[in-house]
Structures are given as structure tokens and as C-alpha cells.
Symmetry: C2
Subunit: 591 residues, 2 copies
């Protein structure tokens, strides 16, 4: 069975050496001293490793079951959920006003990574609740906040998001679920929603469904979509639970992975719903939830990659097979450990340099959210809006690839379920799909985010990279990091220029390269993260750190990323610059 | 449920327009006229689509079961296996002397692709039998051939290969299974073998296990390994079945995919075995089987990719979602089909250009085997030996990636088992692992095959590419294919030079780049195949073919490969040229 070691030390390095969060000027962040964040991370790590992780394989092998309309979660999930609730973890970064602990999002993200790495299927129950609560927080009336938030912040009630219908997922303008206004101000919701994660289960007293639906007579298409709160049990005036609402589970899906999470077909048969936000402005309200969810899903890519990598590393150290061609490393044993072999190293270093770079990327993104929300920093808000599709798309694609690499280290043992490596691959696969398939992320990036506010945010990104390169350009010790970062950033700029010039002539010249652009952008971001981490480690070493090995390892891993991962930008650029012609040449009938 | 359309037209194009097999000068090949091969391919295609394919999902969902020591295959497998046997398909390219049909390997490979695409788990039962029969054909005594081959060629008896033990897979020198000589010339085999595909089942009267074991007192390590025939039921003098041998199923493995194939732990408890080939020369005999199996596994990568691609294409044509940004293509419908979107095209073209290029690569490889075996062409033999790890490693890695792309086209529907796309991904995953994990293929390529016979075969490959480029270099219509092929081939040569120069100083400089080299080589091979197919289509168009659309589509797909896939060689070269330093920098303890 796999093991999981919480990466709290690496997180502390990112929070304090790289991001220097106490110096970030955000109100209250001066108190986030290393000892303080360490205590939180270690407590969350303990829970992850000791409570959530052992249930990961259980969830995968048992799955959920639907009996007489009720979904039952796998053995042990309910008790673990109680522990999570008792510790107050679901409300870690929620407002104290509603029972949360008011911690920064960057700390919540670090905790979330560990929970996801330990048990993605389980953590989705609270993750979706968090997203739904955020939407109510942003768009709900005072009464709605008062009714739902305290229960959701504590996870006594959980939440879901209901977008997809059988005939439409990405193109939600086609949705058929309708919301008919009632005299009392509520609506009757009727329709079918599919792929509803945590749609029903036995771990909460109530489930608060956020449901997109159309009010008859409203605008056509996506502009006529509204968002509704549809609780499983209606809530009485006094806050206690009333009768069962007209929502039921139509089916529990059999999936490739995340078996421990209940993915439901939800049937709404004249269920009572309450408008959240404004009529026909449902997508705006849903996007509060979606954007948060997208960052969380990007983090899942990293989390699964780390969990898989940790086990591949242990296996590579333990498994004796073959000899080091440059001389036996374990001469008294029957063979050397796998880790002596260069090709195993290649795989492990690909994984390690991704995982640590991605972690920095996610926490940097979370810190931008803190800046935007708590310091009203509009630039940070614009930058994280630009970065959201990159974090979601790039980190889940690469994260998945890393789970495949980790599985491969095990040889045949990686393919049989007994060793648990198949589950990482199967679970990681969903992250490329849900919350907007990665092709949609690329479209969002190229079709919308690049040009947002007159291209201000992407220019700010380039300026930031340029400023970093300039600041450290004269520093000989940083040359090996600044050089490759500059080259990769130039590829990204060239691609952006290509889109501007050729996309004018034909938008397909830009759209045909959107996916490669998302990956090119991701590599530049990880290049920047590695350059920043290299600088932080150089500072620590210069400052006489007691942990020389940790920082030397960071520098070596940064070098690996520059030498072996960043060159990928050239291929993405070449693909982008080939334009729409090769992509669109065929008539559909001639495929 | 997925569908499968046999790609017989594309195969005919490769056999006759590109390879021109009737003109290849191999004895008997003059008779392989298009109508003749078409009849065979269409018959095999019919069986694939109508008999094997419908059982693919059944095999996945039911799996095999072990009851009282006996393995039962999924519903319908046994009847389908009877049909395969009745048609004489298992012996298609086996010698007529033993009941085969004596057809060329290139035809057998084309048939094999369709069988595998339709049902990989099922086809493995006959595939392994074919491999085991080939080993007996090459290394068996006349008596052994007479006893086993007719039954195995017909698949009345099936075969297995037993290499891996719990503590050793790649490093077989450590194996513990022992073979003790008996007075009657037989051996008593004792030990445990794992991951034995088709290890036991209910579809054949007998199972012929080929087992690697050590004769006590023999040389240490891999040089003391011998190969044995260990039948499930002992065979009497008259050829009838005698008593049960001391071999039993210890366990049936639960796997990520290929559930329809029985992957067994096999226990040998003093089982009677018969030496196949010479004492201590077991690896040589096993490699006859392994090399054949590796080519077959490379083909599986292509086969799963094609099956998945076909369904992704259909879905992209059917599913209405969003609008073409350049103008609605289905204005009367609620939305346009997915295939109008450039990013969906990008995915489909990546898949299509891989599948058709890989098919040409596999059939070209199979044709080399025919040349080697039937025309005693030593150069062809050397070339296919060089190509074997590339076909196995590159095509299974890329084939897997293509199943992931195909799954992604379905969005959330790709993740639930109901639509069948998850199975392609899960089944394709094993091909990167078995018959030597792909890292071992890369090691074989760089550590052994490149230098084989003084580097003669890799030089022959470069000469062949050079000759093609020279022959068509003046042809303006071919310039768009010859140019990129030349550039990619130059990257490959540069990488080879790097290995020669820097590998001398430190072998890890070569081994750290072995995996990238295998992929770089694969891309050059597919580039060559696409250039050759482009030429063949130009000739057909010039000759006034009635199927203009088919050949125009070939040319457009060739352009796509050149523009969008071949540029990957630059990244692989950059990774290779960064050498061992970034890969090997860390002490194992510092990971």
C-alpha cells in the first residue's frame, strides 16, 4: 500500500523563503510567522497521513453505493469526516463571522494540497462545499448567508455545483432545466443534472445544491441562466430541517477513478429553489465557485503527482534490480537499487521538478488571491484571473503525466491494483476534465484572458518576469537560471505576438495554438518559480542556513528544470507558429 | 458503447501503394495482389468488428474469475475463440508444415492490429501462443515441434511466457526458479512466476508454459538461465493428454485494465519440464519470443490508439456544443458539432497523424521481418533488430497518450465507464510496461542496438533516409515533406554523435538521454513513413486515382505531422544534450 509524507518543509520554504508572506504587506500577514504556519501545516499533515490517506485505497476499492435512493460512502469516510469537522478544517480560510478561522487562502491552499494528495475523492466533499459557500458569500442575501453559511463552513451541510446536463456541458446556453417563479418568491426547479460530484451521501445532515436553470421567458442562451440554492431538506424559519425537497439521485456513475466520491445524476422534480444573486446572472455567480474550483483542481494535479512521486521514489530506493554501469553501488546485495539507473533518475527528476515547481506556482497563485481579497490589489486580481486557466490546465495535464511516470517506475507492479499506483493515475485523470475540460481552459486563456482589460494582465506578467531577470541579470550565480527563463519567456512573447498578428487575419490561427500556448505559459511560470526558489535558496545558503542539503537540492532541481523541462517551449512555439492551416485542412467528412 | 471500423483501406494503401509488397522480390510475394490481401483483411476485419469488438466491454466489466484453481474467461470469450480457431487465424503466418497458412508476416501484422484494436485482452491469448510457438519453431527439437506445434498453431493448446518473479523482472539473473535434471532427461521445475498473461483459462485443452529457470550448478546470473516447456497436462507418446502437471494458479491479479485476460501468479511445484534449446542459453531462446512479442506490443499501442480515435472522431462529429467562431456550421441546429473547434481538430489530427503513421511503421517493420526470414536479407534483419525497441517503446507511449486525447474529446463522458473510453486508456497502459518496460527498451536501443555490428544498422537507417531525401530532393512537390524529415534526421544524428563523444567520457551521458533518443528516433521514423506515404499518394493522384479525397487527405495529414509532430525532435535533442549532470546531480538520500 502506498504511503504519504506531508511536504510541510517544502511548503514552509515556499511560504517564507520564496513568497516571504509576512513581508507581503497584507493586513494581518505580519503575524504569519514560520512557527505559526508550521503548527497548522503539521497538524493538517498529520490528519492527512494518518486519517485520510489510509482511506484512499478503501474508497477506491469499495466505492460508493446507492440503496433505496440514498448514497452510502465507503467504510471509514463518515468517521474521518467527523474528525475533519471537529478540527474546524473546512472553515480554515472562511470568515470568522460565519464560524470560520479567517486564515489566509495561501495557508488553506497548502492544507488543501495535503488533503487532496492523501485522498482526493474524500476531500472533494469538503472542497465543493467550500466552493458553494464562497458563491453564497459573494452573491447571497444576508438571510441566505445567515441560513446556509454557518452550516456549510462547518460542513454540517455540504454543497454541490450543478451545471452539466446530458446534452450540454461546456455549452451551458443549451440547458433545459427550468425554474418557475412561485408566489412566495421561490422557484420550482425541474430538470436533470449529471456528473454531480458529492451529489448525495451519508456524511452530512443536509446538502445544499447550487443549480443553474433557466427562468421561462428570459433571454435566450447563456444570458438567460440563473443560479439557485436547492437544499436537499428544506430549511425552516428557525434554521431546523424541514421536509425533503423534490431532488433525488437518479443514478450513481461508474467511473475510471475517484470511486470514493459519489458522482450522481440528480433529478429535480419541481424542487423548491431560491434565487442566488440576480435573475439571468447565474453564470457570474457560478464563476465565483468555478474559479475557486479551477484553482483547487489545478492543485489536485500537483497533489496526485506528489503522492505518486513519493511512492515511486521509495520504490526506486528499495527495489534491487540491475547494476550501476559506472560501478556497483550495493556490492554486497544481489543488485543495486533502481535509483542508480539514469533513466529512472530522468523519470524521478521530471516528477520532482514538476511537483516542487507546481507547488510554488499554486501557493503563489493563492497568495495573489489573498492580495486581491485582503489588500484590494486589483493587479493581483487581474493576474490570478489570467493564471487560473494555466494553473488548472497545465498542472492537471502535467500532474497526470507525472502519475503515469510514477506508475512506470514500478514496472508490472504499477499496473496491478495491489500496489496502489494505478489509483493515482485513475484519480488524477478526472482533473483534466472537470471544472472545464483543459481545452476549454486553453480557450479561456487565449480567447478571453489574454485580451482582458486591454491585455493589461499579460503585460504585467511579462513585466514581472522582465523585472526579475533585470534584478538578477548581473548576478553571476543566477545566470544559469535567468538565461533559460529569458529564452522561454521570449518564446511565450513570440507566441503572443503571433496570436495578435495572425489571429486578426483568422481567429483560428490563435485558437489552433491555444492548447500549446497554455502549456508554453505553464512552463514559463514554472521556470519563474524555479528561478525564484533558486534565488531563495542562494540567500539561505549565503545566510548560513543549517540545512545546506535542502537548499543545494533545490538548486540542483532548479537546474534540472531549466535544462530538461523548459526546452519544451520551443516545440510549443513551433506548433503554434504553424497556424491554423495544418489543423483545419480537412473537411470533417474526410477524417 | 464504442464502435470499431476495420481500417482495411488504409492497410491496403500501405501494403500496395507505399510498401509495394508484390514488387519486393520476396519469394511468393508476387502473388499478394491487392484483391488477395483485401479478401483476407476484410474477413479478419469482419470478425474483429462483429465478434471480438462486442466482447471488449464484456471482458472489461466481467473480468476473469478463479474458482477452485480454474480460471474462467468472461462470457462469450470461449465461443469467440472457437470462431477464431475455426477460421485458422492463429496459424495465418505459421508454416504450412505445422498446420499454418504460410502467409507473410506483414499480412499477419495487419490482421493482428485489427484483432488487438477490437479486443486486446482477448487477442493476447492467441498472441502469446503465437510467440511461444515461434520459440519452439526456432529452438525446439523435431520431436518437440511435432508434439506441440500443430496444436499451438491451431490454438487447441495455448502458450504463455514465464519470466518475472516477485523479486525480479528486468534483472532476470536473480531468478530463483530452479530446474532439477531427472534421469529420464526431463527436469523438475520449482518456483513462482508472476504476471503470467493467459496463465490459465477455460478456452484450450492444454496450456504450454515456457518457463525460464536455473539448473543448479550452472553459471551465476543471467548466463545460467535455461528455458523449459512445461505443459499444464503432460502429453503422452501418442499425443493425447495425460496427467495434470505440477503447475497451478496461485492468484489472479486485479489490474488497471485488460481485465479479460487472465494475469496469473503461477506456482511450479516440481512440475515436469523439458529443456527448449540449449542448457543455460535460455535467454537466447526466450528472445525469439520476446522480440516477436515486442513488435506485437508496439502494434497494440497503435491499435488502442486507433480504436479510441475512431470513437473520438464520431463523438466530435455528433456532439453539438458551441459555435464555430468563423461562422455557424450547423445554423439550423442548437449548436455546431465539436469538430468545428480548432482545439478539437488539434487533438483529432494529433491522433490521426499518429495512428496512420504508426500503422505504416509497424507494417514496414513486419515487411522487414519477411525480408529477413523469407529472402535471407541480413540487412533487413539488422534493421528490424534496431527498430524493435523503437516500435515497442515509442508506439506504446504515444499510443497511450492518444487514448488519453481521445478520452478527453468526450469531456466528462470520457471518464465514466459507460462510454467505454476509459477502457482504451486503461488497456493501453499495460503496453508501456510488459515485454520490457519502455525504459528498458530505451536502454536496449542506446546501450546495445546502436553499436550492434559496429553501428552498421543505424548507419543503414541514416543512409536510407538520406537516399530518400536525395531521390526526392529535386521534386518541388515533395519539398514540404523532405525538408522537415531532413531536419529531424539531423537532430537524430546529432544526438547519436553526442552519445558517441560524451558517452565515451561517461556512459551516463548516453543513458540519461536514452528515453528521449527512443522518442526522437520514433518521430524520425514516422516522419519517414509520412514522407513515403505522401509520395505514394502523389503518385496515385498523378496516376488518375478514382479516390482523390483519400489521397488528398493523406497529403494533408502528412503536412500536419511535419508541421506539428516532428518539431518535438528539437526538445528531445536539447534534453539529450544536457547530458548526465542535471539528471545525476542528487545523492539518492537528497531526493
Amino acid at each position: 500500500m502506498p504511503s504519504y509524507t506531508p511536504p510541510t518543509k517544502d511548503m514552509q520554504f515556499i511560504l517564507h523563503d520564496m513568497l516571504k508572506i509576512t513581508e507581503s504587506g497584507i493586513p494581518g500577514f505580519g503575524e504569519l510567522e514560520p512557527d505559526f504556519t508550521k503548527a497548522i501545516l503539521e497538524e493538517a499533515g498529520k490528519l492527512s497521513a494518518e486519517v485520510l490517506h489510509p482511506l484512499n485505497v478503501v474508497g477506491d476499492s469499495e466505492g460508493c453505493r446507492l440503496e433505496n435512493g440514498v448514497v452510502y460512502t465507503p467504510t471509514g469516510f463518515k468517521a474521518a469526516f467527523e474528525q475533519i469537522k471537529e478540527g474546524g478544517w473546512p472553515g480554515l480560510d472562511m470568515p470568522e463571522e460565519f464560524g470560520g478561522q479567517g486564515m489566509p487562502h495561501v495557508v488553506g491552499a497548502a492544507v488543501g494540497e495535503m488533503f487532496s494528495a492523501a485522498n482526493q475523492a474524500f476531500t472533494m466533499y469538503q472542497g465543493l462545499t467550500h466552493g458553494a459557500a464562497s458563491a453564497i458569500l459573494a452573491h447571497g442575501s444576508d438571510a441566505q448567508k445567515k441560513t446556509y453559511l454557518p452550516k456549510m463552513v462547518s460542513c454540517e451541510w455540504t454543497g454541490t455545483m450543478n451545471l452539466t446536463e446530458p446534452h450540454c456541458g461546456t455549452d451551458l446556453g443549451m440547458m433545459r432545466t427550468k425554474a418557475e417563479p412561485q408566489d412566495d418568491g421561490s422557484y420550482k426547479i425541474t430538470g436533470q443534472k449529471i456528473f454531480i460530484s458529492s451529489g448525495d451521501h451519508d456524511m452530512a445532515d443536509n446538502i445544499v445544491h447550487l443549480v443553474l436553470a433557466k427562468i421561462p421567458g428570459g433571454p435566450e442562451g447563456i444570458k438567460g441562466v440563473s443560479l439557485f440554492i436547492v437544499p436537499k431538506f428544506l430549511v425552516k424559519e428557525d434554521g431546523s430541517l424541514g421536509e425533503r425537497n423534490g431532488v433525488s439521485v437518479g443514478k450513481l456513475e461508474e467511473k475510471m477513478g475517484i470511486h470514493g466520491n459519489s458522482t450522481c445524476v440528480m433529478n429535480y422534480d419541481g424542487a423548491t429553489g431560491y434565487l442566488l444573486g440576480e435573475e439571468h446572472k447565474g453564470m457570474r455567480a457560478m464563476f465565483t465557485m468555478m474559479n475557486e474550483a479551477r484553482l483547487g483542481v489545478g492543485m489536485q494535479g500537483l497533489a496526485q503527482a506528489d503522492a505518486a512521486y513519493q511512492n515511486a521514489l521509495e520504490y526506486a530506493k528499495d527495489r534491487l534490480q540491475g547494476r550501476d554501469v559506472t560501478g556497483a553501488k550495493n556490492p554486497d546485495g544481489p543488485a543495486d537499487p533502481l535509483i542508480v539507473h539514469p533513466d529512472i533518475r530522468r523519470s524521478l527528476m521530471d516528477q520532482k521538478s514538476f511537483v516542487e515547481g507546481a507547488r510554488a506556482f499554486v501557493l503563489w497563485g493563492a497568495h495573489l488571491i489573498d492580495k486581491a481579497h485582503r489588500a484590494q490589489d486589483a493587479d493581483a486580481d487581474g493576474l490570478i484571473s489570467l493564471m487560473t486557466p494555466v494553473i488548472k490546465g497545465f498542472l492537471t495535464d502535467e500532474g497526470y503525466d507525472m502519475t503515469v511516470l510514477a506508475q512506470q517506475v514500478y514496472g508490472g507492479h504499477g499496473y496491478i491494483e495491489e500496489w496502489g499506483m494505478s489509483q493515482y493515475t485513475r484519480d488524477a485523470r478526472i482533473a483534466m476534465i472537470y471544472e472545464g475540460a483543459n481545452g476549454v481552459q486553453a480557450l479561456d486563456l487565449v480567447g478571453r484572458k489574454l485580451a482582458q482589460d486591454g491585455g493589461k494582465h499579460v503585460m504585467a506578467f511579462f513585466d514581472m518576469v522582465k523585472a526579475f531577470c533585470k534584478e538578477h541579470g548581473e548576478d553571476a550565480a543566477m545566470a544559469e537560471f535567468v538565461g533559460p527563463l529569458k529564452a522561454a519567456s521570449k518564446d511565450l512573447q513570440t507566441a503572443g505576438m503571433y496570436f495578435m498578428q495572425e489571429g486578426m487575419k483568422n481567429p483560428n490561427n490563435a485558437l489552433s495554438g491555444s492548447y500549446d500556448f497554455m502549456h508554453l505559459f505553464g512552463h514559463v511560470c514554472l521556470g519563474l518559480m524555479w528561478a525564484r526558489m533558486a534565488k531563495a535558496s542562494q540567500e539561505a545558503l549565503a545566510g548560513g542556513t543549517s540545512d545546506v542539503a535542502f537548499h543545494e537540492t533545490k538548486l540542483a532541481t532548479a537546474r534540472y528544470y531549466m535544462a530538461r523541462r523548459l526546452p519544451m517551449t520551443a516545440t510549443h512555439l513551433a506548433r503554434i507558429q504553424s497556424g491554423a492551416e495544418p489543423v483545419m485542412a480537412l473537411e470533417a467528412a474526410n477524417f
